[in-house]
Amino acid sequence: MRTSAFLTDASVCIGCKACEVACKEWNHIPDDGFEWTGQSYDNTHALGASTWRHVLFLEEKKPMGPQLAGIEEPFRWQFLSDVCKHCENAGCLEACPTGAIVRTELKSVFVQQDVCNGCGYCVVSCPFGVVDKNHEVGTAFKCTFCYDRQRDGLMPACAKACPTRSIRFGEWEELRQEAQVRVKELQDRGYNDAQIYDPTGSSVGGTHAIFLILGQPEAYNLPPAPEVPTIHMKSAWGAALFSALVVVLVVFLAFAL
């Protein structure tokens, strides 16, 4: 099986939310409550149990690349469609005590709804704040990477619905190279803060959703150096073991004295 991935390119996203709609329709996801957030045109807040694609609307007082228009009061409106990162070392998968969260043959991370018992440990273990519990259903939900569609040789609904090829879907390595080419092209054209968001150097070991963003990751609420929480296993258990030994010592000393 191929190792599939998303490349989501902020530089060509027009904020149409076709990906959000396509995702909701294909996957039968409930609505998010139709609330007005006042945060630009973003009314779905963040990724969550009922939002598996989330279009961000950034309003920044920065010039738009090399453009001269509005140079006195620089302003740019950036869009990016966020999605589950499908980490190589996934915090949610490591944390799941039931084995409901699995790695598929496509290398994506998948929550098996018939196994999940809603313990909520994946929710606090995701370094990107993606997976969340649906309190009505009682289980954890996130992007399935359209596992059903991919099994039938179709591309994920969001990528198919994207009218600008901002969401590209394909072979992981090919997309990484495409991202390199695209970021070089943008920089050559004066978009100096164009960069690839692909945390390969950290403990998450790379993600199957790569992003091309303008500006720093923090502006998109993307963690600048995400870590899979299990790297802290040794220090936490070490402290617990030490404390437990002290407890035993104190209890026995109490009786011996």
Binding site: T37, Q39, D42, A46, G48, L56, L58, G91, E94, A95, C96, P97, T98, G99, A100, V115, C116, N117, G118, C119, G120, Y121, V123, V124, S125, P127, F128, G129, V130, D132, N134, G138, T139, Q216, E218, Y220, N221, P223, P224, A225, E227, P229, H232, M233, S235, A236, W237, A239, A240, S243, A244, V246, V247, V248, V250, V251, L253, A254, F255, L257
Partner: protein, 339 residues
């Protein structure tokens, strides 16, 4: 009349010539009064929205953390009491351990989104998941302490034989070992998450939770009438540790610990620490001869430890909402410029 009287036509000519000759102009432009301005890195995030998701756990979980801690440590105290021949504490410790285990499972199950699927916890064992380790530990501990109580009561009722005696010892040792894991895994559960205030305190929370369990187990024994030197000693050590931890949190003054020091949750943390720490410690040290003071100290510690469990979970909820808490950990050099 030029907008800027200092700029003459000659200056404009000079600029044009320099630009034509070299391709660029070597000057700084206008230096406003007071420049250069210090430029703190702006606290960038997406509309200030949270990056992480808050814990979904309900009120049962902190209570389970507390009860599991008391139960687990009670089994340790029971084992020590058996070794040192204190029959009263042995029996009480085992029963507290069993009742705690019997309360723990329903609390844990009630929190699940799908309680009927609790047993799914036992379809895999994952060392890398503290939740998995915990589910198995609770099952193992419950069985061990249950067996220990049954053996002990049978022996007391006069059905004792060598087999039962060996079985009781084996069950008590298993209960003590699994009890220690039961009382401590919950702290690892918090430490090994993405939530900044938990993750950055992963070495401290085990100390807090085990000290809390230790002091509370002794406190519960005292409230049952066991006003012994043993419980007094344990109570003093546990409340001294609670006091030290509170001082560390206050003095360290880290940004990531803000939820533990500020706002409602900060005061909840402090209230728990004050009750289990200095209040209980002073009562025991200065009025330790008075049984009334010992009872009050026990109540203070148990209440403080219980509040502390709620405060730690609530602090995680606050911490998850602050994108800067996360960004500061991940970009320390970048953020040191800001503050």
């Amino acid at each position: 009349m030029a907008a800027n009287p200092k700029i003459t036509e000659d200056r404009l000519d000079a600029l044009r010539e320099e630009a034509a000759r070299t391709g660029k102009v070597q000057d700084h432009g206008i230096a406003p009064v007071g420049s250069p301005f210090p430029k703190p890195a702006a606290a960038v995030s997406y509309h200030g929205n949270p990056v992480l998701k808050p814990p979904t756990w309900t009120w049962q979980v902190p209570l389970y953390f507390f009860v599991g801690g008391v139960a687990g440590i009670s089994a340790v105290i029971a084992l020590a009491a058996h070794l040192f021949g204190n029959a009263g504490v042995l029996r009480a410790g085992l029963w507290i351990g069993l009742l705690g285990a019997l309360v723990s499972a329903p609390l844990l199950i009630a929190d699940l989104g799908r309680p009927s699927r609790f047993l799914n916890m036992l379809r895999v064992f994952k060392l890398q998941s503290a939740m998995s380790v915990g589910a198995w530990t609770l099952s193992g501990y419950s069985s061990a302490v249950g067996l220990a109580v049954v053996c002990h009561e049978l022996i007391l009722a006069g059905y004792g034989n060598n087999f039962l005696l060996v079985l009781e010892w084996a069950a008590e040792i298993s209960a003590a070992v699994s009890g220690l894991i039961l009382a401590s895994y919950t702290s690892v559960l918090l430490g090994v998450t993405a939530i900044p205030v938990w993750s950055e305190n992963r070495r401290l929370v085990p100390v807090v939770f085990l000290a809390g369990g230790l002091g509370s187990a002794a406190g519960v024994l005292e409230l049952l009438g066991f006003l012994l030197p043993v419980t007094q000693f344990i109570g003093i050590v546990a409340s001294a540790v609670e006091t030290l931890v509170a001082i560390v949190i206050e003095l360290r003054g880290r940004y990531v610990d803000r939820p533990l020091r500020e706002g409602t949750v900060g005061w909840l943390t402090r209230a728990g620490a004050a009750l289990a720490g200095p209040t209980s410690l002073l009562l025991r040290v200065f009025w330790g001869h008075s049984s009334m003071a010992r009872y009050v100290a026990a109540v203070c510690f148990v209440t403080g430890a219980l509040i502390s469990r709620y405060a730690w979970i609530a602090a995680g909820r606050v911490s998850s909402r602050d994108p800067q808490a996360l960004f500061r950990i991940q970009r320390p050099a970048h953020n040191s410029a800001a503050h």
